[in-house]
Structure formats: C-alpha cells, structure tokens
Amino acid sequence: MGAQLFELPVAVTLRLQSRSGRVDVIAEPRDDVLAEGDSIESLVDDGGATLRIRSGRGNKPLLVRCPAGSDVTVGTQSGPVKMTGDFGIISVTTASGAIEVESADEADLRTMSASVTIGTCRGRCRMNSASGKVQAGSVGAASAGTMSGSIQIDEVNGSLKAHSVSGSIDAACGGEGAIAIKTVSGKVHIELPQGCEPKTRFKSLSGRIRCACPEGTDVLVEAMSVSGSIDVVPR
C-alpha cells in the first residue's frame, strides 16, 4: 500500500476514480490531500484547480484524506464509496457500489443497484438508485428517484421532487418548497408540518390520492399516480 501527499492550493476539486475497489474519503481539518492505495495514479489538472486520483486495477481500496469542505467527485463501478466528514459540492456515481455520505453542501448521488445514504445536505440533494434504497437525513431541496427501491427522507427543508416506478417514497417536508411526486405503482407518504395548508393538484388513473391537510395556499403539492397510493398528512 503506497501513500502520496499533495500540497495543493485551497479549494482544489478532487476527482477520484476506482473500478471495483472500495473508496473512502475523509474530510478533516488539514491543508493537503493524502491518498493511500495500490498503484495510485494522479494528475493535477485545470491549472492546479483539480486533482485527479485513480486507483490501480483490481479491487484494492483507495483512501483519501482531504480538507473539510472540499468539492469531490467519485466514480466507481462496483466499489462502494464512503465519505466521512463535511464536504462541499459532491458527486458520486457507481454501478453497483453502495454510496454513504455523512455531510455535504450539495450532492448528486446516483447508482444503478446499490443503496444511497446521506446524513445531511444543506443545499440541493439529488439521489437516484434504480433498485437500491435511498435514505437521507436532513436535506435542502431534494430530488430523488428509484425504480423498485425505496426512498426515505427524514427532513426536506426546500422543494421535493420524487419519482418511483414501484418503490415507496416516504418524506417529511418542512413546507418550504413545492412538492412534486410521480409514481407508477409505488406507495407514497408525505408529511407536512402541523397547520400547513397546501394547494394540491392530484392526478391519478386508478390509485388512491389522499390529503389529510386542509386545502390552502401555503405550499404547492403536485402528485401523479398510475395505481400507487399517495398520502399527504400532517406530521
């Protein structure tokens, strides 16, 4: 296992890449970037603004320690990605590797079949897994999609756009942004704050759509379902 230390200007963007090896990224109080792994290839690009790190072939793990608040993009095929600490703008894409993020300013997390988990995202959070579970703690504006997996968001503090084919969607919204839900046959459960009076636009071909909140103008809730049930309820 080799290690490389990069002394870099502040606000460098990291672009990490691995095929099947695990990728661990730790954001912590430091000024440099330390990468550990086998056969690491690196390149400083964009006039010093970007550091690209690629782990060698095979399933060897890659560990990167970077300054807190760093912007990071990670791409793997089957390797899982774990990001610990507080990041800036992040983007993680995998085919079958699970994605786990502790905290970020903005996030775009997508995978074909694995799970996506994020603790906190202060800004817009995009999450997409075809068949895996999508789970988020507290997020700003959220956009989430799944085919057969499930989506669960504990706290949405902005707008919410969620889409599923057969998967369930469960989200608690703060009533601070428009909510748009689309599902073919999934079960959708949206919670709004007590006293929130949403303006609703529901369309359903055969599914049941129910809003237990009094109609008003506080927040727009749009929902469309083919056969899935959609419930909007006060928290």
């Binding site: 990670v74 894409t93 073919v184 071909l205 469309m224 083919v226």
Partner: protein, 180 residues
Amino acid sequence: MIAPAPVQPDVVEGTVMFTDIVGFTEFNALRGDSEAMALLTLQDRIVREEIGRDGRIVKDLGDGLMLWFDDACAAIRIGLRLQERFEEESMKVDAPLWVRIGVHAGKQRRRGDDLLGHDVNVASRIMNLANTGEVLASEETVRRAAALLPDVEFKQLGPVVMKGIPTPINLYRVERHAAA
C-alpha cells in the same frame, strides 16, 4: 449513362441519443396494451415534431428510441426540448410519459439503417444513469456543444465507470440556465 450512387461511408460521426420511458413495463401491466401503445405513440409524435430535419430516429427500442444527430448542439438542444414537451404532454393527457435521456458524441458504424459500435454502447449506458426528466451527456458531447449553447448549463458529475466500457466517461447533467 447513369452515374453510380455515391458509396456511403461505413463509419459516420455524430451524436447518438437514447430515450427510455421509465416504468413503461409496469404501466403496460397495469393499464393494458392499448394505453401502453398510446403512450408510445405520444412519445413518437413528440420526438418527430421536435427533431425535424436535425436528426433521425434510428430505431424503435420498445419503450424507448435511438436517435442520431450530425450535430452535438442539435442533440443537446432537442434533448432538453424533448424533456420539456414530455412533461407538458404528460400533464395535459394524464399519461406517465416520464423519460430519461442519454447523449454521446463519437463515431458510429453503419449497418443498413442501423448504427452500431462502442460509442453507441456508451450512449446507452449513459441513458441508464439518467434520472426521470434528465438529460445526461458525455464529456465529448459537451466539448463539441458547450461553447455554442450559452443558455445551457453543463454540471459535471465526474468520472463514471460503466460496465463493459474500459475507459471511465466524464458525465454531465444538462440543464437550461435558471435565467434562460
């Protein structure tokens, strides 16, 4: 004497787009063949209206289409326009025309009216990573189109390692500028 028809080159250079109706199989199972056919017809009509002479439908893939454009700008512009039309029509007729789109510029090998090759496969893989309502494009597409599309924003998703594709592809999420 009639001049021989010009020989069509075997390899063409252009931009391939894949569209896919998300949840089509489930919709078909729930609502039956007639409504499923109507959904496909709706997608087909919108695509034909929007591509005009800028591109062509290479083939019908069941719940999606493969399109080809000789110009990457046209592919991006039309991809965004298609998503807007799909959304409008979906709301208008209460049909789940929820589509994802992947775009990749490169070289394609002609086989009759069909197009084959690595760059076609890459476009298909890109589409698989798109969310409903999204247009995703490869770096090569963005390189050819970005400077000519000031009203379009390309947000980098980073290096994406795709199954069966040896080299990671830098992907971008394509959106209209908020102010546009």
